[in-house]
């Protein structure tokens, strides 16, 4: 299978939430009861039963009018994926040929490292099962030659799914066409995310969208520096003790000198 890209052209989104419903439908996920918080954004955030979400945001346009921004939020399927770096369970978070980062919740132990290592805070914890859940890019559909459910359901052409090069070209063309503050988001981040946005506004305008997403240097310090050092420390201690025992030997008390009285 070729490497794929999911192009999300936010200029076309009408916030119909077909993607949200299709995702729930395909994955057999229940609705989450919520309360009216004075916004159409519902549920309030991604959760263990909601892998994709339309974010509603009101901004003031240059002419003073109120403008609505919609953003289809979900896992970005990063090439340099923080969740994969942090996960302690072998084979729990894996990558498919098309580029999906798949979290196998049946293997998850609920440590929540992936949530903290993810620059977008995507993986979500379910207290009932004590496991993490996130968008898996419908890797099961892709394996059968189908496109992800959200892309299939999108009626406006906001979500498009196809081969990497074609989608990147299309994204660049579309951003140019829109002009102004429009830009392509994702292809240059984290060695290339597999979900790429065409944003109509500058990235900083969007809520909960990092302008320059990066895996925290603390994660590198943890996994690439201190983790090997802890093994080095253990083996070093073991080696030093073995050498000492072989060369110097144990320090034994002297019993032979007899029972002289100690002062």
């Amino acid at each position: 299978m070729n490497e794929k890209i999911m192009l999300v052209d936010l200029s076309k989104c009408t916030a119909c939430r077909s993607c949200q419903v299709a995702c729930k439908n395909w994955n057999g996920l229940p609705a989450v009861p919520t309360i009216n918080r004075g916004t159409y954004q519902n549920p309030p955030d991604l959760n263990a039963q909601t892998y994709t979400l339309i974010r509603f945001q009101e901004i003031e346009a240059k002419d003073g009018a109120i403008k609505w921004l919609f953003r289809n939020d979900k896992c970005f399927h990063c090439t340099d994926a923080g969740c994969m770096k942090a996960c302690p369970v072998p084979g729990c978070i894996t990558r498919t040929e098309s580029g999906a980062v798949v979290l196998d919740s049946t293997k998850c132990i609920g440590c929540k490292y992936c949530y903290h290592a993810c620059p977008f805070s995507v993986p979500q914890f379910d207290a009932a099962t004590e496991k993490m859940y996130k968008c898996h890019w419908c890797h099961d559909r892709q394996a059968e030659g189908r496109i992800p459910a959200c892309a299939k359901a999108c009626p406006t052409g906001t979500i498009q799914f196809g081969d990497k090069d074609a989608m990147i070209t299309l994204a660049g063309k579309r951003a140019k066409e829109l002009g102004g503050d429009a830009s392509v988001y994702g292809e240059k981040h984290l060695d290339g995310t597999h979900v790429v946005y065409v944003l109509t506004e500058k990235p900083e305008v969007y809520e909960k969208l990092p302008v320059n997403p990066k895996i925290s240097p603390l994660i590198f310090l943890w996994k690439d520096v201190l983790k090997p050092f802890s093994m080095l420390s253990f083996l070093g201690g073991l080696g030093a003790c073995a050498l000492y025992y072989l060369i110097k030997g144990p320090k034994r008390p002297k019993f032979e000198e007899g029972g002289e009285k100690h002062e």
Partner: protein, 214 residues
Amino acid sequence: MSSTVKNSNYELIDVTTPFERLVHLAFAGSCIMLFISGFALMFHTLSFISTVFGGLYVTKYVHNFSGLLFAVSGLFAVVIWFKEGAIFDADDIKWFMKGGGYLWTKEGIPPQGRFNAGQKMYFVLKASTWALMSVTGIIMWFPYFFGKEITIFCYPLHALGVASLAGAVVVHGFLGSLGNPGTIQAMITGKCTRAWAKLQHAKWLKEYDEKHSK
């Protein structure tokens, strides 16, 4: 062998209290469990270790609850040994200058109290990492309560604790057993021989004799 003859080298002397041994057992036992389960969780290549606990999911809980025992027993350890473990004197400096008699010389080692300078150093390391590991560990256990910004700092700090502790724990275990025969009994039965005390903790033995002579 008349092991109980007074003032003979074979005389058995009480060197630790039962409470000290209980605290040591809980602290050391939980620490070893934490290392085994922690290494299984840290290295994919060592995750096979988790099989003995029943998989990584259970291993996480073994780690969490061993951590609780570690935090509680560590508190007792710090309190009961602080006076003997954290205060260094001139003899301790001399001990360090001679490498404790373990490395390049065996001569001129100043007589040591119930804890020698190396053990004191280990106590200081252990006390500080006890605090570090307990605090970062509890935050990592309940990250949503503390928030992402705080939790993400705890990951490298927790690993820093492992890196500074792993080698020291191995060396401590070695010096307390194979390296110095007669030592491990102090933490099991609580008794040592007069000959051992003379060799390892002469200053303490002197105090002991003064206290026990009428």
